[in-house]
Amino acid sequence: MSDGSDLPRESTRDAYGRALVELGARRSDVVVLDADLSGSTRTGWFGEKFPERFFNMGIAEQNMMNVAAGLAMSGKTPFASTFAIFASGRAWEQVRNTVAYPSLPVRICATHAGITVGADGASHQALEDIALMRVIPNMTVIAPKDGPEVERVIPAIVDHDGPVYVRLGRAKVPVLSSEDESFTVGRAQVLRDGGDVAIVACGIMLEPALAAAETLGEQGIQARVINLSTIKPLDEAALAAAAEDCGAVVTAEEHSVIGGMGSAVTEFLSAECPVPVHRIGIMDRFGQSGEPDELLEEYGLDAGTIERAALRVLKK
């Protein structure tokens, strides 16, 4: 298995921009809203193609989420985009009360999630968005691993019941998907099989997860690598099988270790099939400016950290 260095790379936001244009061409009910970041979120590509169905709401995320709610109540299928910190944080209560409580089909596609936002620093690095969104009833939370997965996710959620939060990134990530992959909301994907330890990852952490599995393999430890792109609802069957088969689990996410994907996995496993779990993520601290690669290393979001966690959890 490759460590991803020789694979084609693109950001998940670029794939989102393309998927929206494709969707807009065949679905006239699709409308797109942005909050003055349409160049960065790539919704501007939809806006160029379908200006009558694109609404720039200005720097007013709270209003944007509730305008999207009104559109969803009126037979439209709104996609609302901004940076993850604003989509999940600034507009949280608007999403909670006026989108999710009535279970309106608003698709919140947030870009610039995680520490790999890079140089803009802590104010713009959403490390809490998975926690903030998954705590809301009716909400579906998806963190795709690469561009091709995004292009499968967007058509898959267009008619999904209720609100959906899709977590997208700015950084270019390797294409790990194979040609024949499919995506179903709520279904985890085993990217590499193994029976000694399970590494459950989402988003950009799949690349170091696979790399760690490779190194572990060289030491005779077979790691199962699971892409948990749907964080809510959890694929409980896949997680239970991983815990039973492997007996030890490592989770890896570009998010706080508090409340995120690893927490969701741990909440489930601790109740249903308790096994040792080690969570990799941001250790309860804010980010800072830096290059994405530097930040990933600084915050311990790399293959070496995952490998060490796997060895540690295996000893328990």
């Binding site: 409308v31 709401m57 209003n63 989420m65 305008v67 009104g70 109540m73 006026t98 009535p102």
Partner: protein, 272 residues
Amino acid sequence: MRHVADRATSLRCRIIQSTCRAGSGHPGGSLSCADIVALLYFHVLHLDPERPDSEDRDRFILTKGHAAPALYAALAEKGFFPVEELQYLRRLGRMLQGHPDRVRTPGVEASTGSLGQGLSVAAGIAIAGQLDESDWGVYALLGDGELQEGQVWEAAMAASHYGLDNLIAITDYNDLQIDGQLSDVMRVEPLADKWRAFGWDVWTVDGHDLYALDAAVREAQVCGRPAMIIAETVKGRGVSFMEGEASWHGKAPSGEQAEQALLELRGGDADE
């Protein structure tokens, strides 16, 4: 307009009865907007209770969601659900939640209660109406204290920017919020100037004068811009001991108080 006035009185009676029975709720701000709600539901809005989701209906958003008792009374009298349901306001497992819930209650357009969000929802509906070149209108009723929420002004900006001439908002300007007079808690004046500065057409009327309200609504419908009707009202209107008293914002009347209130509202006739 006589029948609308009768409806308004009836709504007020039901507000008193339902909040008294619930033992909690918001009678003050429900009574202040009863004339506005009666005018809309029994004179202005095109609605069909048999087809609550019909495409061509007018949309009404109670953005001051705590005035739910007024909305519920109107919806019940309109036939969206049986009036008997009003006695189960705020009860476990029933349809009439403390604040409007569009999933549980037929006829409720938007789930509201958290102030400042309803005008944005109304703007979203209005945009959808324009996309579909629809004839129906969107009406939103806001509280005056609610205007302290910054999001209201985001929505005001957006409605003007997108030329939402199918959107009519009404402010229930009773000049009282939970902690007291608006001018003491957080001044919102000059209100009409603010809305005009945001690109809206503005009318200021006596919110208990049905003719004046109706005239403003008719002008607003054809003004070609988003419209704001500032309806000057009295909190607790119609019940002497509640009028002008901020303390009746979120407190239910006792049985005795309710009896007194109903007597006053019915002009001395204590029977239903």
